[in-house]
């Protein structure tokens, strides 16, 4: 039934495992995806939404590289919003509420369509490792399956323990069994460090029991967009509403009085939880001055009454969850469908990985997703994609595929993980990126699609689409640079927007670079309208041109800064570099460098405790 030997075995069928499987099989590896329950493939364990600030950018990057998270989200979107539209373009972040069922349905469909990919339902309980090299996996049913490379994407399943009030349930997700054996084998036999993390999820309730009149509706965008650059899906003509309401002092009092029996405060949860996604009890405890906290009611799909109560993640008993929810405005008659819960799980500190997400200790064993201490579907999917690509490249003896910090949020993500590790669940923020202005959602294709093409994940056809877009953008920019506007034509527009009028002809570019002038204000000028029509400059092109002109100063500044870093980035340190021999390095630097084994001077510079003089010294020895 199984191949004699697989190129790649992916353990786990979540966001990470699915992207990994499709990437490696699309690149030509014979791949097996093995998961405990084929029914729950592509499950959204937490809230039914994809994207958001910094995360939306990641989804666009995945799409630009040839991954599928954006496509599947587009297919299952029930509401789309471009967040932060009032801010600079670096902040524009796509976010979609999704139909939970459609989301997993379509993922499964895509996996099944792939002829080089086998699916199998069983639980991997240990790894076959010979001479610190992965050889395959052993399963709960007693099978031994051989593989040249294994990607672990176990999510929250390794020794997962669920807390609901005083109840402790072993499990990787509610009503699903946890996985034992892998952590024990890796830590005991191979000295790989592991840690415990905690995350939580909110109760889901019956939407019919809520009084929406007491809440503020939140609508989707008037002109909803899509995540995917290349995969076309149906236009979203109708959208579901979300609602916002708030907790109040009464809710807080009730929570406060019961803090001592919350597993988080009673001491029964040891794992480290994320600071930016606190449970409601942590919010009440840490910020006693806040009179209210926002609660977001998110529909779970087109055809279900179930809604997700975002902002109310909790580990309280179902009784206290019910009592406190009832006190929220609009929730007076609430009926809970599924209580929220907290979950503790094993993770492996990611500073034990190489930049290609391969273990430093076991060859051809890759780690991706929540097992690396991250949180979020998007972060997991991104790692899965990169692990899939790199596992394939490794067994075919090609150079690893590593994204730099100035190239992609995915680059920032993986670089942060491997050089700094993480002590709490790691989530992406735009503030983690040094070159936010370069890493925009609108240019993810320009940044990454050529790379996706080079590794074989982007088709010739899609590459042509990109080249065509680039050509048009260039053409349009040169039009704006060379053509002038007469005062009598543009002054009415300027006056309308309270912009100083002009007295002689001015180039279009200089008018557009004024912060108070939007491209929409000028494209209706007859002569421009004609040019735009003639050249078929669509909205995507015009937006690209507008960003490039309006924010040129900032973009250039970041490009300049990135260029400086690039020089360090290009100075590769040989893998067998012997730091211990260099007496001029401080002892701390010697030990850290020996442990992290940075691939470049730039990466070395980001390790805490490495000084500029250390870098100079390494450089000198590198030249030897």
């Amino acid at each position: 039934m199984f191949l004699n030997i697989y190129d790649i075995i992916v353990v786990g069928g979540g966001h990470s495992g699915m992207e990994a499987s499709l990437a490696s099989s699309n690149m030509g590896s014979r791949t097996l995806l093995i998961t405990t329950n084929l029914q729950t493939i592509g499950q959204m364990s937490c809230n039914p939404a994809v994207g958001g600030i910094a995360k939306g950018q990641i989804v666009r990057e995945i799409d630009a590289l040839g991954g599928y998270s954006g496509f599947v989200s587009d297919y299952s979107t029930i509401q789309f919003r471009m967040l932060n539209k009032s801010k600079g373009p670096a902040m524009w972040s796509p976010r979609a509420q999704c139909d939970r069922k459609l989301f997993s349905y379509y993922w499964r469909f895509l996996l099944e369509k792939n002829i080089r990919l086998d699916l199998y339902q069983d639980t991997v309980t240990s790894l076959i490792i010979e001479k610190n090299r992965i050889k395959g996996v052993k399963t709960f049913l007693g099978l031994e399956i051989k593989g040249k490379s294994v990607i672990l994407t176990n999510g929250t399943f390794l020794n997962g323990k669920i807390h609901i009030g005083g109840k402790k349930i072993n499990g990787g997700r509610i009503a699903e069994q946890e996985v034992r054996g892998i952590t024990e084998q890796l830590t005991k036999n191979f000295g790989i460090k592991s840690g415990r993390m905690k995350t939580g999820t909110s109760p889901r309730v019956d939407g019919r029991s809520l009084n929406y009149k007491k809440m503020k509706p939140q609508y989707g965008d008037e002109h909803p967009r899509k995540f995917s650059f290349f995969h076309k899906t149906k236009k979203l003509t109708k959208q579901k509403k979300c609602y916002i309401t708030y907790t109040n002092q009464e809710v807080h009092n009730l929570i406060h009085n019961n803090l001592d029996i919350s597993p988080i405060f009673s001491g029964s949860i040891q794992g480290i939880s994320p600071r930016y996604c606190p449970s409601i009890e942590e919010k009440v405890y840490k910020f006693p001055d806040r009179e209210q906290h926002p609660i977001f009611v998110e529909p779970e799909g087109w055809n279900t009454v179930e809604v997700y109560i975002n902002g109310f993640s909790t580990s309280f008993s179902e009784k206290i969850q019910y009592q406190s929810l009832k006190k929220i405005s609009g929730f007076e008659k609430v009926k809970i469908l599924r209580p929220g819960y907290a979950i503790e799980y094993d993770y492996f500190p990611p500073d034990q990985l190489k930049p290609n997400l391969e273990s430093k200790f076991i060859e051809n064993l890759f780690f991706a997703g929540q097992i690396n201490g991250t949180t979020g579907y998007e972060e997991a999917a991104a790692q899965g994609l990169l692990a899939g690509i790199n596992a394939h490249l490794k067994i075919f003896e090609k150079d690893p595929f590593i994204l730099k910090r100035n190239q992609a949020y995915i680059g920032v993500l993986i670089d942060d993980l491997i050089t700094k590790g993480t002590k709490e669940p790691y989530r992406m923020f735009t503030s983690r990126a040094e070159y936010r202005m370069l890493l925009r959602q609108d240019n993810a294709d320009i940044r990454l699609t050529p790379m996706g093409y080079n590794i074989g994940l982007i088709s010739e056809e899609n590459m042509n689409i990109l080249n065509n877009k680039k050509l048009k953008v260039k053409k349009c920019i040169s039009l704006f640079k060379n053509e002038s506007l007469k005062p009598e034509v543009i002054n009415p527009v300027l006056e309308k927007n309270k912009s100083p009028i002009i007295y002689s002809n001015k180039k279009i570019k200089s008018i557009l670079s004024r912060s108070e002038i939007d491209i929409k204000d000028i494209i209706s000028i007859p002569f421009l309208e004609k040019e735009i029509k003639k050249n078929n400059f669509n909205q995507e092109i015009l937006e690209q041109v507008s960003i490039n002109i309006k924010y040129k100063g900032y973009i250039d500044k970041e490009k300049e800064n990135a260029k400086k870093l690039l020089k360090l980035e290009n100075l590769k340190i040989p893998n067998n570099f012997d730091y211990k021999k260099i007496k001029s390095l401080s002892l701390e630097a010697r030990e850290k460098l020996d442990y992290y084994r940075p691939i470049s001077l730039a990466q070395a510079s980001r390790i805490s405790g490495i000084s500029p003089s250390d870098l100079s010294i390494i450089l000198i020895y590198m030249r030897r």
Partner: protein, 465 residues
């Protein structure tokens, strides 16, 4: 940060201080064009860029206002035939501290940057100009130079400067955290900051930075000395006074008007503070071209000094009106400089001068005979006490050129952020400037990372769904 930039660096290659000549070294792609810009060759029409490597050229360095700075020899070393392997220029100039600093500052204004410890050697290494066997020695050199450097900065870290800058950084960090919070968590529809408050905050911060930057000149004073220029009409006893101060006969003293045609420099240390005294040509109408040059120099020196000593002859009663006028003019032209007025030749005077009128114009009026050592000393004591007290009073003084540069760059970014906020640009754009400002401050106190910003956010605000 380790620099692999192709920018142009400059440093003094000979020890700081007075010597016969000193050498200033410049390395980098633009070395030749930068120097070309400020160099007037003796041979008209000569272009440095057209000269071959390893050649020497005589000429003058000029400042932006076309003032001649010094007569110099320029040695050209073209890439790759130089010590660093890059285009290099060596300027041999006259060895006064003043000239050295003037030339360095001019070069920095023209686009060079002060080299870091060991940077010339480091560049030489990068360009394979140094034998491999020397590698280890250089590594140790960098290490030791950094240690020295580190030692210096440790001193500063213990001091108030670093505390102050750390406070500034902290305030900026709070500021940028607020911005980032709104950006990264705007999904939660939260508004934290009030733009008006942010604008006010940036204004205040800009002023603090300005203060620090201005303290550099006072800081420089401690390190490099305070310039004191002696001015006055011809033959009022400026040179006598000068010679009493430095106690050696350097100025030619005679009773002929206009004997001191050039500026003469002397240094003394009072109360631990270094003072440079400049004796200048007497201010009088003259047609003698050499004297005209001398008077011009005197005016220039006045501009560059912190203290002006105005001397007049109290035995000459007729001049009263002119003296009051002179003092008025100096006060008006240099309101921020300290003015000492000295009524000389008290031994000859008939005390008929209207000192009240003069007194009302200045805080410091002395009646002395410049021949009397004791009376001169009284003036010096007042002078040194003035600066000593001032130093004690000033909380923070910037003394390092490196700090000065970082603060200036930081201020520039703060002002840009201020503009951006005023123009109602988005927070992410404002944030770019604040982060740059933080980065420059970080060059003084240690880097602030993105992680620090996030930590700060999480410790202060309740966020996340």
């Amino acid at each position: 940060m380790l620099d692999l930039n192709d920018d142009t660096i400059v440093a003094l290659a000979t020890p700081i201080g007075t010597s016969a000549i000193s050498v200033i070294r410049i390395s980098g792609k633009n070395s030749i064009s930068i120097v070309e810009n400020i160099f007037i060759p003796v041979k008209q029409g000569k272009k440095l860029k057209n000269q071959s490597t390893h050649t020497i050229h005589l000429g003058y360095l000029v400042e932006e206002d076309k003032d001649l700075l010094d007569q110099v020899l320029i040695s050209i070393f073209k890439s790759p035939f130089s010590y660093t392997g890059e285009n290099m220029i060596e300027i041999s100039c006259h060895g006064s501290y003043y000239i050295q600093q003037k030339i360095l500052q001019l070069l920095i204004r023209k686009g060079t940057r002060l080299a870091r410890p060991g940077e010339f050697t480091f560049r030489a290494f990068l360009n394979n100009k140094i034998d491999l066997s020397q590698a280890e020695a250089i590594a140790d050199l960098i290490l030791s130079e950094n240690k020295v450097h580190h030692g210096i900065s440790l001193q500063q870290i213990k001091g108030k400067l670093s505390d102050n800058i750390k406070n500034l950084s902290k305030e900026l960090l709070n500021f940028v955290s607020l911005l980032e919070l709104e950006l990264d968590f705007s999904e939660d529809n939260l508004m934290f900051s009030n733009r008006k408050e942010l604008i006010l905050f940036l204004k205040k911060l800009g002023n603090t930075l300005k203060d620090l930057i201005e303290s550099f000149s006072l800081g420089n004073a401690i390190k490099k000395g305070i310039n004191v220029v002696i001015v006055g009409e011809s033959n009022v006893g400026k040179s006598t006074f000068f010679n009493q101060v430095i106690q050696e006969d350097r100025s030619i003293i005679s009773h002929m008007k206009g004997t001191t045609r050039d500026c003469i420099e002397g240094e003394i240390v009072l109360n631990g503070i270094l003072f440079h005294f400049f004796d200048t040509a007497g201010m009088r109408n003259t047609l003698n071209p050499i004297e005209v040059i001398g008077i011009k120099k005197a005016i220039k020196k006045m501009k560059e000094s912190q203290v002006i000593l105005y001397i007049f002859d109290s035995s000459k009663k007729k001049k009263n009106k002119k003296i009051v006028n002179d003092i008025k003019n100096i006060k008006k032209k240099y309101p921020l400089k300290d003015l000492f007025v000295i009524a000389n030749k008290s031994d000859l005077s008939c005390c008929l001068h209207n000192f009240d009128k003069i007194k009302s114009k200045t805080d410091f009026l002395f009646e002395i005979s410049a021949k009397n050592q004791k009376e001169v000393k009284k003036i010096l004591d007042t002078l040194s006490k003035l600066f000593f007290d001032r130093l004690k009073k000033k909380k923070i003084i910037i003394t390092q050129n490196r700090h000065y540069e970082s603060l200036k760059l930081s201020l520039k970014e703060v002002l840009l952020a201020y503009d951006a906020l005023k123009k109602e640009l988005s927070e992410d754009l404002v944030s770019i400037h604040i982060r740059e400002a933080l980065r420059y401050l970080g060059e003084i106190t240690g880097e602030i990372t993105n992680e620090d910003i996030l930590k700060n956010i999480f410790s202060k605000f309740c966020i996340g769904k």
